[in-house]
């Protein structure tokens, strides 16, 4: 019964996208019906969420849904099969649950927008493709979902395509992702060539040489760095903030960008078999977490701060996956989805109220918009890792996993652990700065801020409750057992077996990470809580060139511009020259000249006297005959 509902849960968002999108395309009078279209889109995602919730409650064992073959040539089959197990069901719940809330929020946020029909159609399509991604059993199907979310992301970043910068940002996101996608495609083809199967479930038991695990693991990780905004492909994510804020919340914070983490957790067997790659994953994750955290401290655009915060938090997830603690990574995906979606929706509410994204023109907003202010504070405390909020549990599990990996004698993991403690401090610091400058002190802007309507504050409230409470699904060993790890995900995600830590060590680690968070918040309060924006200006002046470097986002874009884009243009110019002079002029001359010259030689043979031709024929026959004797 429940099994039969799952295709419906998967298909509903697609139907929603078709109804809202194609319906509005054919019947233009539908387009201004924002409430109706938004209502359909929201209801459909909520229904899909309920179906997945029901199958979660009734879950017994993995469910396979056999699709048709996309391609069937000889022995090559590209099956489109789905598999619903604990991990994919968990991701589906996050996608549809958070997705439904953000759909609801969008109805209020998109008020006064002519293109809301487009927006809701793509948002529904995004939910569908994301579900395809997480529920796929065969890698080609996963790839389809992977590309699908990329396309939806492209359309939604470029929602206001009238401004060139937005269209550019959309293209940038798409192209950066393509680099990673190539890795996914190459990786899955390599795995198929080695094992003869595309099915993830069968790959788990397949036998392949260790260097294939390393190679394919690296390629899939390249894909993950693209989609999940890690070094070196992270630069698209901050620019992706050009889209509407709920899109940033859903796609570029809570769900799509976690696809890379999901991919690694899904292919856990591959990475466990390749410890060198795991170490690289952890290293990249830690480095990205640092860069994201550092840049976030010196941004003035509220969404840019949150974007770099997302980059940094994704780094945390990759560090966890790199320690082999895939469940810890998924746990952080889960908690992060709540508080980061809440932060983005809160920032959307603020942008809606003030009409600006610059935090220098905000301040004291909590008195104007108490619900947004309080929920934003809750999310700040959660991301800073203050117990007992959700972020504390997942961050603590990640740090404990890295430390435990260190005790196994892999000393680099101690370094990663120490570095992430630093990022935990940075996280609390930049979030404290953002929240104090935005919501406390006195108002510095000119607009008349007001609280957002109920349709927008309701999702804020639900997400705030989640940000407080959802950490309880993953209690650390000190307080009991982690239900998420030990009861649920363990069925289909096999962590690298890490040594358990003594209670004393565990308490020590916890105190350190909470201490780092508390210190960051305290420092932020000392600077920005007490003195407001003037303290920030003092800090900028004190940092000087370093401030400008961070404010310019480390100038990675101009580095890439010089390292890749300019050489590409030079190459393109060269190709153009070759085309115009060689291909366009010289080659045709040769192509015409050579046959003409050959022709003048051969047309002497055409004498116009038929008996001569017969002689040719006879001579040729004789030659053939001689050749057949000789050969």
């Amino acid at each position: 019964m429940v099994d039969a509902l799952i295709p419906l849960g998967l298909g509903l968002p697609f139907i929603g996208a078709a109804v809202v999108g194609l319906g509005s395309l054919w019947v233009p009078s539908l387009r201004p019906q924002r409430l109706l279209l938004g209502g359909i889109a929201t209801g459909i995602v909520a229904l899909s969420f309920l179906i997945f919730l029901l199958s979660f409650i009734r879950y017994e064992e993995p469910i396979y849904i056999r699709g048709w073959n996309w391609i069937a040539i000889d022995s090559l089959r590209l099956p489109l099969d789905f598999r619903i197990d604990t991990l994919s069901l968990w991701m589906a719940l996050i996608v549809t649950g958070i997705g439904a809330l953000i759909h609801l929020y969008s109805i209020g946020y998109m008020a006064g927008e002519d293109g809301a029909w487009r927006y809701f159609a793509f948002l529904n399509l995004f939910i569908f493709t994301m579900l395809v991604l997480v529920l796929a059993d065969s890698l080609p199907l996963l790839f389809l979902g992977w590309e699908g979310v990329g396309v939806c992301s492209y359309f939604l970043i470029g929602y206001w395509f009238g401004e060139e910068a937005n269209a550019q940002a959309a293209q940038k996101a798409f192209i950066m992702n393509r680099i990673g996608d190539l890795g996914l495609l190459a990786g899955l083809i390599w795995l198929y060539v080695e094992t003869g199967t595309f099915s993830i479930a069968r790959l788990r038991d397949a036998i392949y040489p260790a260097d294939v695990a390393v190679g394919a693991g690296l390629l899939l990780f390249l894909a993950a760095t693209g989609k999940s905004a890690q070094i070196p492909l992270y630069t698209w994510l901050p620019d992706a903030m050009a889209g509407p804020t709920p899109v940033s919340a859903l796609i570029h914070a809570a769900t799509m960008v976690t696809a890379g983490v999901y991919l690694i957790a899904r292919m856990d067997f591959l990475y466990t078999a390749a410890p060198e790659v795991l170490s690289l994953v952890a290293g990249i994750g830690v480095a990205t977490a640092w860069i994201g955290g550092l840049v976030a401290t010196r941004q003035y655009d509220i969404k840019k701060v949150l974007a770099y915060s997302t980059v940094s938090q994704l780094g945390f997830m990759f560090a966890a996956a790199g320690a082999g603690a895939y469940t810890a990574a998924i746990f952080h995906v889960f908690t992060h989805a709540f508080f980061k979606a809440l932060l983005f929706l809160g920032s959307g509410s603020v942008i809606h109220a003030t009409g600006t994204q610059d935090i220098r023109e905000m301040g004291g907003l909590r008195s104007f918009m108490p619900i947004t202010g309080i929920t934003f504070w809750i999310a700040t405390l959660a991301i800073a890792g203050i117990p007992p909020l959700a972020g504390f549990f997942s961050k603590d599990e990640i740090l404990a996993a890295l430390y435990a990996r260190g005790t196994m004698g892999e000393l680099s993991y101690y370094l990663y652990w120490a570095a992430l403690i630093g990022v935990a401090f940075l996280t609390a610091f930049y979030m404290g700065r953002l929240t104090w400058l935005t919501f406390e002190g006195s108002y510095r802007g000119k607009a008349q801020p007001h609280e957002s309507p109920l349709g927008m504050t309701l999702p804020l409230g639900v997400l705030a409750v989640g940000s407080v409470g959802v950490g309880l699904v993953g209690l650390p060993p000190l307080f009991g057992t982690s239900w998420l790890r030990e009861r649920w995900l363990v069925q289909h995600v096999k962590d690298f077996s890490l040594p358990s830590l003594s209670h004393g060590t565990e308490i020590g680690l916890m105190l350190l990470s909470v201490g780092a968070g508390a210190l960051g918040l305290a420092l932020a309060w000392l600077y920005f809580g007490k003195k407001g924006l003037s303290a920030d200006e003092e800090l900028s002046a004190k940092l000087g060139g370093f401030h400008r470097l961070l404010n310019d986002q480390l100038r990675v874009d101009s580095l890439y511009e010089r390292a890749f884009v300019q050489p590409y243009y030079i190459l393109a110019d060269l190709a153009k020259d070759i085309w115009t002079t060689w291909t366009g002029r010289t080659l045709p001359q040769i192509m015409v000249g050579l046959p003409t010259w050959l022709g003048t030689l051969l047309n002497r043979l055409q004498v116009g006297y038929l008996p001569t031709y017969v002689l040719y024929l006879a001579a040729a026959s004789l030659l053939l005959l001689l050749w057949s004797f000789w050969a």
């Binding site: 047309n603 055409q606 004498v607 116009g608 006297y609 038929l610 008996p611 017969v614 002689l615 024929l617 006879a618 026959s621």
Partner: protein, 102 residues
């Protein structure tokens, strides 16, 4: 079929082919040239048949059927051309037909 008989038939076929080729080279009459070509074709057919019988294999015989079919079609087109050429030039010599020369 014995191998001696095969040799005999092959020799006959080679003789027919040579006759055809000589006819084509020496005669200057379109109709006779045409007949010579037919002679060569049938020499080839005979060759096919001889090997078909010798190897006890039907492929060669089937090939000959195609060959006859081809010869019939060639005759239709060829004779049509001969008639046209005769109507235009009022003789059957072909040495003067050089309008398509470069």
């Amino acid at each position: 079929m014995k191998v001696e008989l095969l040799y005999a038939v092959l020799t006959l076929s080679a003789g027919l082919f040579s006759l055809g080729l000589l006819g084509l080279l020496l005669r200057r009459n379109l109709l006779l040239a045409f007949l010579s070509i037919e002679l060569m074709l049938n020499a080839a057919n005979l060759n096919f048949l001889a090997f078909s019988r010798y190897h006890n294999e039907p492929t060669g015989a089937i090939f000959v059927l195609f060959g006859i079919c081809l010869a019939a079609m060639e005759a239709v087109i060829g004779l049509g051309l001969v008639v046209r050429i005769f109507r235009i030039h009022q003789n059957l010599g072909y040495t003067h037909l050089s309008a398509l020369r470069w």
